[in-house]
Symmetry: D2
Subunit: 407 residues, 4 copies
């Protein structure tokens, strides 16, 4: 397809019908191997073990967020907000590439081979590479992505309390998981956005839709993202990688993807400033992790075999949860049984304890409302919003997990 | 269709696909003119002036509630709850007929010709008539409807904090109004219901779905049922009927439906204990009201003509709303202008003031949860529920309405 | 709402989410009593007796067709088709008002008080009135509607083998009736439209979508529009009006809507060139018909009472159908029984016989395809289309209907 | 989860909401590693390169077909068809496991390492293994699956012109690909099924739904399954495996999944009667294929690198299609250019030619209708069916594909 035709390229999407690619540059970015890699990285990691339909990739999510950004731009332009064609393309590129730095099973990897929060930094590094390759065509997009562009509201469309990323992933994850209650009405939210004093605001008449958005998000967190079975699968994934790392440091050899094994072998492979590490990282996707799990399923090390095999055959650990921290008595009782049944296994691989949390609404990252009289008011300070009645403290869930076969 | 075939009668429904009629008696009740009358009474009164798709009738709603009751019974029977075939039919009949006493534009009528809360009493009177006609076949259903049946949970399925009536109307009103955010996942709620100690309970793992239900209900109230334009239309409807009543008492004759005019003519036609009044009432539907509005559109009385014509041509009064009561200054300013512009019109027909309210969750009619350890706990007392953090006070909206043409 | 704001007026629609009104003139036309009248005329006549959800009005349909026209314009403009802003507004107005001449229960009325095919003529007369009222602002729209505009493709968007009218009503009727199989993918069809040699064409790659459109249409005709129960209801409606007309000519007085009765009383009230008749016509809607049916339910004339009462209480005649014409023997046998059971009733009110037909695809009104090599080819001549293998003859269904209570 | 609770296990599914597992044995089969393996085999092979959402696996499809089988059983039991509880479980197991013998990218594999049509034989072999493991509990299911059970209609529910397999995959593939036009109304089809003379029949009133089913299937074939871009991707996949096989036979070593490489190394590994080969086969899934593609992306052999890398980076060959066979002139012209540009590359790896076909309706596997007078008639012989007007010959599409970079 020649760039000229690219203007009206249509991509089928089960949620939005068609997604349109509106510029040749964006078309070329989508075609680039770095972006095509996202096809091989699932959006929801281990969740398909609980929600079988939730197999969508970061590729579709990035395109979906692009689509919502186009709708947001249309809404703002209709209201007379000044956004030049170049800025429109830049903010589209920024949202398209916002997750390009994600690795496979990011949460598990971030606890092992990649440092926390680095996927945004990696996204930036990859964008800079693409900017070089495309002769500086991405520089405005990078300004938006790094919040260096004077029009701050463009950044808020990419990363804010209610941005196109969140809108798409909530809607998409809800759609594919079958948890329809998490669905949100993106159309109604985008109808009420506006820009005042260089910041993104939501018309007051959208209050109930915003509440609905937050409640849908809360529901998706507790019912899907932090579902106890997803949680135990992700913990097992993290522990699998830790065990592999440990065995490799002890000099053992492991079969499986040589790239992933190489990452796990190095004690501290977290510096991506050198180009080579980034090259390796860009070669990594879900395939490598899954291939390792399949190999390790039959590894002689009991721990590695139990964890990797459990993920392959869906023989997950049992997990218990409660809102209050577990009493020492409770955990010690289980731990003692585990020590008796598995005398040679390090406890940290058969007993997982911790907590997860989520907050309904964060004051730090407040949603700004535009009232009928054109003043701006924080969502949590609006008299008729439920948010002004809710303590915004995080809610916690404590968990304890161990092999199901514990007698 | 013979009763035998009736067992598998399928009714097309845009929401549930097919609705099945499972007993010959229920089939006969649906065929009865009293039930067919519900086809001519819209569920949402004046709302179609704001949400054009919201034209569905109480007929579809009653069938939808029947469908959900069947699903609820299946869910309870699977869990081993003891409900005899006779009780199953009875509770289906009770929900099918729960609204059979509704008149046209009920809210407006209740403020004029029918007393408040009487539609439940009228439903009961009509059920008793049907019981006579069907040789006592509805007596068990009447027991359930009046909460005289020893299995209290059957009543709670018909009328409780989360009953089949509410479930269907929220879902249906959301569907037809296009306010998709009001949609609720009835399937998930019905999957967690159970009966303990003779009362209907919801499994603890349904907490988030229940929260979602309440938030969807809140959204539907403020965004749809109490939408300010719907509200002003309903106020105009009430005032139209009041004005007609007033003119009739003054000896004027009014064209239009003679049944409705007869109702309006009598000073106090609110006693339905005599069979004749009930006969008349059963002949009344939306057609009568609409026919009168069309006639009164050209009536010489300015008030009647402005109100009725406004409803026909959608020339509604302007309406202002705010969360705090209006100051006397504000209202007097408007009233003064109105007196000058319409010196001969009684103020109560051109100036409407008042408030509407809705509460997110009512402690009086508390939802009962069944925790994992089989104890029952009130929803608003559960530690991980948002409800325990919300003051349950009603939220209010104050309004002020008057002719748009006020200069 | 001031005209300036009207630019972004959003109307809730359960099918498309939001419908946008894009010009002050269109906003004013929607507000006009002539257009508001469409709220009181159901799109599908008697169909709600079979498909309870199918209660939508011509008002929503007209708005839906407007919405699709906007999408069609966007698709054509993106492909470089030259359509001026004035023409864009004109074609939107033409589709918005294409059905404004429809009366209540049109098919029944057309067989009695209004001449066949006249609803298009009436639409035109009403548009001309509006053109006068709006100082000539509708003249371009009238040119498009009457196919007098040089850009013939604009007319084809309003009235052609696949126009915005058909697209919306198939999708809308399918949605509300719950007959989901009639659904069509308007988005995909609109993505492939184009204009070549001043005519509307569909890109070759839309062949399967077009086939699907025609099959969906076929299904909707046979399963919904010509459903035998809808059909018998409509026949009863026609006969009701004929009987009323007959009784009135015999000098009887009938209660009910005086406007409708006036229409029925006159022997030949089919000339709408005089303004007064049009005024009366514009005062007529479903309310008048329903009010008459309710009144006639208790009329002493057995025929009128049986027909009108049957429509109110859904006591419809029995109807039989078959693909071949009925044999004289069969019909005479039934007729003889009817004569014995109802010796005093004219046979034409208790025995209905006839046929209905529909064709899958009409060569007269052929769909034009644009092939990859830019030549135009008729759909039914395209080698890979099913249409070239199907005889396009009409398919017929013969029916016979009579009172169910025939022993 | 203990078997007792398994009775009401609910699995989230984005299409049907919840899928219920109704027996402990079925629950255990789903938990078995053989069935869990299906999570790692995509239903639609390479299609996600064209329809990004189409990433669902054979696991969800098998569960979906199970769900439809439960609905079909309910429909038949309601009509009084005699099916014992054991037979009900057996036919559910038969449909659940009907695809358990599928390997990754089956179409490509079947042309290389696995013999054609063998996936059904493999399914049977795997069922027999499971039957051994579950002490003969699957023997009735195997009878149904092999059509050895006297109730032939049970087999027809699993494998017939309109079986639960086809119903689910059409609906599911339509849903995930976003090609909504392929959607079918399974509910309506299942409402009209019945059994007469030991064979599955469809009530005559389902004719239009059946037509719609066939048209939806036709659309899905031409627009999705045989989409030219999916087709070229699948051809590249086949050729990749062939090239790998060729290189291995030449003594080269290939990196990648050792299991897949082992399969490819053997000249004739198509005999699965020995248990070891089946063990290896059951260890194979999409991961192995994808891992090999990633490795071969950088293999020195130009052919392997171009094909494998093209599939990873979506740099697919260009493909042309037409309904008539290509002329020798056309193909020789291209071939000559290819020989000049790639003098050392065997032509069969850079020039693909062939055709694909699909028939709307096959007389061999005819659908049987039950007419109102209880006689059985073939769908293609019914007077009012479109099928009696269509020649049932296959429709063909000829293609020609080669590297896009051909100058």
């Amino acid at each position: 397809m020649t760039p000229k035709q690219a203007k009206y390229t249509l991509i089928n999407d089960p949620i939005y019908g068609f997604i349109t690619v509106q510029s040749p540059l964006i078309f070329d970015l989508i075609q680039h191997p770095y972006f095509q890699r996202l096809r091989r990285i699932r959006q929801m990691g281990c969740s398909a073990l609980v929600f079988p339909g939730a197999r969508h990739s970061r590729f579709e999510h990035a395109l979906g967020a692009l689509h919502l950004m186009q709708k947001a731009l249309t809404s703002l332009l209709q209201k007379g907000v000044d956004i030049s064609p170049e800025e429109q393309e830049a903010v589209q590129i920024a949202i398209l590439l916002h997750d390009i730095g994600h690795g496979p099973f990011s949460h598990a990897l971030e606890n092992t081979i990649v440092q926390k929060h680095s996927h945004e930094q990696l996204s930036l590094q990859i964008m800079q590479r693409l900017d070089d390759e495309f002769d500086g065509a991405l520089s405005l997009a990078i300004d938006v992505f790094t919040n260096s562009h004077p029009k701050k509201f463009l950044y808020q469309l990419v990363s804010g309390p209610i941005d196109m990323d969140r809108m798409d992933y909530l809607r998409r994850d809800s759609f594919y998981s079958g948890m329809l209650e998490g669905n949100i009405n993106t159309e109604r939210l985008l109808a009420v956005i506006n820009v005042v004093d260089n910041q993104l605001v939501f018309g007051e008449k959208g209050i109930l839709s915003l509440e609905k958005f937050l409640i849908a998000r809360r529901l998706m967190y507790w019912q899907v993202y932090l579902h106890k079975t997803s949680l135990v699968a992700e913990l097992m994934m993290t522990k699998t990688l830790q065990r592999a790392h440990e065995l490799l440091l002890q000099g053992e050899t492991l079969e499986g993807s040589d790239i992933l094994v190489a990452f796990l072998k190095t004690d501290n492979l977290r510096d991506f400033s050198g180009g080579d590490a980034l090259d390796l990282y860009l070669a990594l996707d879900d395939t490598d992790v899954m291939y390792c799990l399949k190999k390790w399923h039959s590894h002689p090390d009991w721990v590695l075999q139990r964890l990797a095999g459990g993920l392959i055959d869906r023989k997950l650990y049992a997990i218990q949860t409660q809102t209050n921290p577990y009493q020492k008595n409770d955990t010690e009782f289980i731990q003692e049984k585990l020590r008796q049944q598995y005398p040679e296994v390090p406890l940290n691989y058969i007993f997982f304890q911790g907590n997860v949390s989520n907050e309904l609404y964060g004051v730090k990252n407040a949603i700004q409302l535009l009232s009928k009289d054109q003043t701006i008011i924080r969502f949590d300070q609006h008299p008729s919003s439920l948010m002004n009645q809710l303590p915004h403290a995080k809610q916690q869930l404590h968990y304890m997990a161990f092999p199901k076969e514990l007698s």
